[in-house]
């Protein structure tokens, strides 16, 4: 039989405003939309963290105007204990889902994956458009919970049962708030599934001539591996959320045990399993932390290589390590449940792969360090943030070795030690990856350069600030400071309050430093210097097309690829870099076929 359809029909350039900027099918516009959403979410999440930090440092300080957010949650502009937890939950949820997943993966991936693979667009542009708009709706469903009767849920971003499943007897936000939370996340999952579908097929089927898998840049590999994780992880979280919603609205008993008495009320549920939620959640949750970080690993490698003017020690080992992280990330989830009452044998079983997963992480780090060693790194905002990423990933990763052992984790679980661990290794590192990507790709995305002086100032303040905030967390945790407390009134906690005050000041300063970035972003968008097609002398396909790229990415001639993505400083070559599309014959030891 004939093969009846060789490739997806590329859609023509849109003409109406709505099609161009709102319901766009163009992966580049969708990427920017994701970026804008992530930026908005990050600002909201940051504002929430300020409110929490002020409350933790100076519990009675009245924050002017806070009662406008909630008159019951902040009477007299001071947070109630419950409202503190509600804001904390929203902070975590917004940051993990709508910033750390959307920006490095969905935003940059949408914009650059098709370009780097040499495609005109994603194969299913309608799914791609829906991916963004579904995520957008999910975001506002979550935000809507600020404005319902008793506010958003207070259960934490992990929403442990039974608290999350018992309804409003559990406290403010535990009724409608949880339902909105679970609905929002289920919607979000659908959006990311559509996205992953497109990412995977783009990588496998849409590559241009000559673009073998091994010739894909590390960024493309990062997004591809992430989309495989996304496809499997979000497909599990969504059913979990559906079961949680049913426990609320249909009176089922998936997660609530029999005869549970809360606030002197016997709950009508029977026989539910509280651990079931934790299993489902962490089966998603651990891969999710790698969904947040693997795109950043790709971006950072890409940025470092371009600025070192030499490839990584081994392209393949980096790819295999990222893939190993993805595979292992499904086998380790139980390390979040060491103290959940799970069978101790299971703890042992989960502890082993958790220690194993440090091996690919370490290899990735050694690849970066080994390649950086002796290189003449160009210092600019992008490369600085890439270095910052490496630094944060190491500092945060080291604490993982400790947590991986059940006997130590019993003491450190649910303390600020864990909070320090994941903020450095996931939160700050992934944010630095986003920043590195932004400074690096902004010229290609908008046609203008960002301001380097502001960028470097932003880096220095953020780098020092992040350590000032998150290093003391480890100390607090070792001292026994439990997490998710809104005030520290116990005897053993009172001496730690000065540390909290220090952290609060650091958080405010670092937060304001982010406004430099926002200013730089907006100002450069309109007033920045005009960017050339290849301002960093890069080699991959995004640099061989116009700035900003035309609607079908490459104009009327599709690219043909002759080289691996990182041919820098090749001996005997005509220039210090050879673009993937250059037909020049070279004799390079690290050429990928």
């Amino acid at each position: 039989m004939h093969d009846m359809s060789a490739h997806a029909v590329p859609h023509g350039a849109p003409t109406s405003f709505i099609r161009k900027h709102v319901f766009s099918l163009d992966h580049k516009v969708i990427g920017k939309q994701y970026y804008a959403l992530a930026l908005l979410a990050a600002l909201i999440g940051m504002a929430l963290s300020w409110i929490m930090r002020i409350h933790l440092g100076w519990g009675s300080f009245a924050i002017p105007g806070l009662h406008l957010l909630s008159s019951t949650g902040a009477p007299g502009n001071v947070l109630t204990p419950e409202y503190y937890l509600q804001l904390m939950t929203m902070h975590g949820t917004i940051m993990v889902f709508f910033v750390l997943t959307t920006a490095p993966f969905a935003a940059f991936g949408n914009f650059f994956l098709p370009i780097q693979t040499g495609a005109e667009d994603m194969p299913f542009p309608h799914f791609n458009m829906m991916s963004f708009w579904v995520t957008f709706v999910g975001f506002w469903v979550l935000i809507a919970s600020f404005f319902v009767a008793d506010g958003p849920t207070l259960g934490g971003w992990t929403q442990y049962a039974p608290l999350s499943a018992i309804g409003s007897v559990g406290g403010p936000g535990q009724g409608l708030g949880v339902v909105l939370w679970a609905t929002s996340i289920a919607i979000f999952c659908v959006g990311q599934l559509f996205g992953s579908l497109n990412f995977i097929t783009t990588t496998l089927d849409m590559r241009c001539k000559g673009m073998s898998l091994m010739r894909l840049p590390l960024t493309a590999w990062g997004w591809f591996i992430t989309s495989v994780m996304g496809l499997t992880a979000f497909a599990v979280l969504m059913p979990a959320c559906i079961l949680l919603i049913l426990d609320h609205v249909a009176g089922t008993s998936f997660f609530v045990a029999s005869n549970l008495v809360i606030n002197d009320q016997v709950l009508p549920h029977s026989g539910g399993s509280t651990l079931l939620w934790q299993h489902l959640f962490w089966f998603f949750g651990h891969p999710e932390v790698y969904i947040a970080i693997v795109p950043g690993m790709g971006i950072v490698s890409h940025v470092l290589i371009t600025n070192m003017r030499k490839p990584m020690l081994s392209h393949r080992v980096l790819i295999y390590s990222m893939a190993a992280l993805a595979v292992l990330s499904y086998m380790v989830y139980g390390h979040h449940m060491f103290v959940s009452g799970m069978n101790p044998i299971s703890s042992l079983v989960f502890s082993f792969p958790t220690l194993v997963i440090t091996i690919p992480s370490t290899i990735v780090v050694l690849m970066w360090l080994g390649s950086l060693y002796g290189s003449k790194l160009r210092i600019n905002s992008a490369s600085l943030f890439a270095l910052g990423f490496v630094s944060m990933f190491i500092s945060g990763g080291v604490s993982g070795f400790f947590l991986a052992q059940p006997s130590i984790d019993i003491m450190l679980h649910a303390t600020y030690f864990v909070v320090g661990h994941f903020h450095l290794v996931m939160g700050v590192a992934a944010m630095f990856g986003i920043f590195a990507g932004t400074y690096f790709w902004f010229p290609k995305m908008t046609g203008r350069m960002m301001n380097e002086t502001l960028g470097k100032a932003h880096f220095i303040l953020s780098f020092i600030g992040a350590y000032c905030i998150f290093m003391p967390f480890h100390y607090l945790g070792i001292a026994g400071n439990v997490r998710r407390y809104q005030a520290f009134t116990d005897d053993y906690l009172i001496p730690l309050i000065p540390v909290h005050k220090f952290i609060t000041v650091a958080a405010l300063v670092t937060g304001f430093a982010q406004l430099i970035f926002v200013y730089n972003l907006i100002h450069s968008r309109f007033k920045g210097a005009i960017a050339s097609d290849n301002p960093w002398q890069g080699t991959s396909l995004e640099w061989s097309t116009a700035t900003p790229p035309p609607h079908n990415n490459f104009g009327d001639k599709m690219p043909v690829v002759y080289h691996d993505p990182y041919q820098y400083s090749v001996e005997g070559a005509s220039a210090d870099f050879i673009m993937q599309t250059s037909p020049e014959k070279i004799n390079s030891p690290n050429e990928e076929k």
Binding site: M4, A6, H7, P123, T201, G210, L246, G271, L275, H279
Partner: protein
């Protein structure tokens, strides 16, 4: 390349790289010396990769439901055994039959596209039959839910019923997507814009729904 059923495409081995993306795919490596070999194999059309990716996600979703069922059953003494409504077995026959009719129609359409006219009479007819069988299946499932409900067994009666409803409704919703796909295939066939890959992807989805249903029936029968 808009290929229609009325106009079989030329097998163009001479495609130039400038003709668009999607013709790269798995294997066509260009040697580093820049000598472009002729494009020997076309990449699989994205729809045929995409459908497997989609099915993988659906598999994960139902795997999650299954493990939830197993964990929840092990956790508590309140597990009730239920007798499945017997119409489910009849529905199973319907969905298996629909897979058979869909395969027949797929062959007819292929013959039609290949220009073998005598074997290709009215290729849409079997698609309509498949569609009808699919609609009957959903009706049959609805009957089962209504019947259970009228006997007083609701979603929250016992957790076995909760799982029964969740699994069967989730499957039916996915099946509605398949029905939508069939309608789309029929419409495209009438407008002569059906691509082979669309038909293949839709039928893979449909067969998968059948396999998934048989699995679910077995699971429910064994566990509930």
């Amino acid at each position: 390349m808009a290929t229609t059923v009325h106009e079989p495409p030329k097998h163009d081995l001479e495609r130039l790289p400038s003709q668009g993306s999607g013709n790269g795919g798995w294997r066509n490596l260009v040697p580093a010396d820049g000598d472009l070999p002729r494009v020997k194999d076309h990449a699989p059309p994205p729809a045929s990769t995409g459908i497997w990716v989609g099915l993988a996600a659906i598999t994960m979703t139902f795997a999650a439901f299954t493990s939830a069922l197993v964990v929840r059953q092990g956790a508590a003494p309140d597990w009730q055994h239920i007798t499945l409504p017997s119409i489910l077995y009849f529905n199973t026959l319907l969905i298996i039959a629909s897979s058979v009719t869909l395969e027949i129609s797929r062959r007819r359409v292929a013959a039609f596209m290949g220009g073998i006219k005598d074997r290709a009479a009215n290729p849409a007819r079997w698609l309509y039959i498949t569609l009808a069988l699919g609609v009957l299946f959903v009706a049959g499932q609805t009957f089962a839910w209504v019947q259970l409900k009228s006997q007083g067994f609701g979603l929250a009666t016992n957790v076995s019923y909760s799982f029964f409803y969740v699994l069967t409704v989730a499957h039916a919703l996915h099946l509605l997507g398949g029905l939508g796909g069939l309608v789309r295939v029929i419409a495209k066939l009438h407008n002569s814009v059906l691509r082979r890959s669309t038909l293949d992807a839709t039928s893979r989805y449909w067969h998968f729904m059948g396999v998934l249903w048989v699995y679910l029936l077995f699971l429910l029968w064994m566990k509930l």
